[in-house]
């Protein structure tokens, strides 16, 4: 490069790129950033010190499009109970117009991970808790206890069924295994209008093979709605910027209840 100005500009640009990359550890030219780890070796499933960003685009637990896992069942392979299949077909035929999520009601735990506006995972080993903070829907959160507590007894009258259920998690190597039961039946628990009943127990396996990928797999065990347990999953991509493209890269303020004009467009046409 003979032009000194071009040389200076190129070097400066290269230097700035390296500086920016080192400052926030963003990938350069397809570089794969390793999974971040705590001092005790446990991986960070979400934000780690000195980093920015949040989890964004995901896939579905059935079908293989986009970020959905290639091992997923196709819709016609899901082991629905007869009523559940008919209800699912009814919802599909009506373009999911009755979706409670579109009415700003809380979504199920899988659906929240799939909802636009992203989410963050915050680990607190000292509190024996993992929090999942969701930017979409009703801007809610979920708590996963990692203190070894058992699942709740859903037949106990003192167990109040909830939207998020009761989650207990443990680590198997670099995978957080979360078991949850005690759900109410007010949600479509996953994207794609899947029905569920109070008998549902979910086993989620969450790992992070590299910095920019969250691997999510869930086994659905619900004898009320499905004839046998079945498994599906998807990968979630890390977002380096805010949805507006800004460098802030934080979950932005979004409230479904504010100015919710979408629901009037939900028709079966």
């Amino acid at each position: 490069m003979k032009n000194p100005l071009m040389t200076f500009s190129s070097v400066t640009l290269l230097g700035m790129t390296i500086w920016c990359a080192s400052a926030v550890a963003q990938p350069v030219d397809g570089e794969t950033i390793p999974t971040p780890r705590m001092a005790n070796g446990q991986i960070y499933l979400g934000l780690s010190p000195g980093q920015k960003g949040f989890w964004g685009s995901s896939g579905r637990i059935f079908g293989t499009r986009g970020r959905s896992h290639v091992t997923n069942l196709e819709a016609d392979e899901i082991p629905f109970q007869p009523w559940a299949r008919s209800l699912w077909e009814y919802r599909q035929a009506n373009n999911e117009k009755d979706d409670p999520h579109a009415r700003c009601l809380p979504a199920g735990v899988v659906r929240l991970i799939q909802t636009v506006n992203g989410f963050q995972v915050l680990q607190h080993p000292e509190l024996n808790r993992v929090y999942m903070v969701f930017g979409g829907g009703v801007h809610t959160w979920r708590v996963i206890h990692t203190d070894g507590r058992p699942l709740v007894d859903i037949d106990d009258p003192d167990t109040i069924p909830t939207y998020m259920g009761y989650s207990t998690g443990h680590w198997e190597g670099d995978t957080l295994v979360v078991e949850t039961n005690g759900f109410n039946e007010k949600t479509w628990f996953a994207s794609g209008s899947l029905p569920s009943t109070r008998y549902m127990q979910l086993t989620e396996r969450i790992s992070r093979p590299n910095f920019e990928t969250l691997r999510y797999e869930v086994t659905v065990d619900d004898p009320g709605a499905y004839t046998r347990p079945w498994t599906g999953g998807f990968d979630v991509a890390w977002n380096w910027t805010g949805w507006d493209g800004s460098e802030k890269a934080e979950l932005h303020e979004y409230f479904c209840q504010d100015n919710n004009l979408d629901v009037m467009h939900m028709t079966n046409e």
């Binding site: 109970q81 007869p82 009523w83 559940a84 299949r85 008919s86 209800l87 009814y90 919802r91 009506n94 117009k97 009755d98 409670p100 009258p157 069924p161 109410n184 039946e185 007010k186 949600t187 479509w188 029905p195 569920s196 009943t197 109070r198 008998y199 004898p223 009320g224 709605a225």
Partner: protein, 138 residues
């Protein structure tokens, strides 16, 4: 049974019904029958207020109870045909005064997708009479 005890029993059944509504009124997006329904059964031109509680069991059977005239009567043979969303069931048990109450109900679910406006409309019949009924999901 004295009048007071009868009244007390009636009140207890109402309270029981309210408690069951509070515990079961979360079945809106799951099995379409599961939950609490209230409505009327037309008997001799008169409305009889009824409260129906149905619950899906893990083996797909549906158990339930109907409360009418202060009596809590079990349901049996509750069937849902999901191909047409039709419902049939039998009410069979002692009434408030110990008399046997037996009749069948056949209806169809309307507004299936709506958690708040789902209804079952149809006809009830016993050996002598028949009439309409309508139930709204609570």
């Amino acid at each position: 049974m004295s009048a007071f005890l009868k009244k007390l029993r009636q009140h207890m059944l109402i309270i029981l019904g309210i408690c069951l509504v509070a515990t079961l009124a979360f079945g809106q997006e799951g099995h379409p029958l599961d939950g609490t329904w209230s409505g009327d059964r037309i008997v001799n031109g008169e409305k009889v207020r009824v409260l129906v509680i149905m619950r899906l069991l893990p083996d797909q059977r549906i158990e339930g109870t109907i409360i009418e005239n202060g009596a809590r009567i079990p349901l049996r043979d509750v069937n849902l045909d999901p191909s047409a969303w039709t419902v049939s069931l039998t009410v069979d048990g002692p009434g408030r005064s110990g008399e046997q109450i037996s009749y069948s109900m056949e209806g169809s679910i309307k507004n299936l997708g709506s958690a708040r406006n789902r209804i079952i409309v149809g006809q009830w019949r016993d050996e002598k009479e028949e009439g309409d009924f309508s139930l709204n999901m609570n």
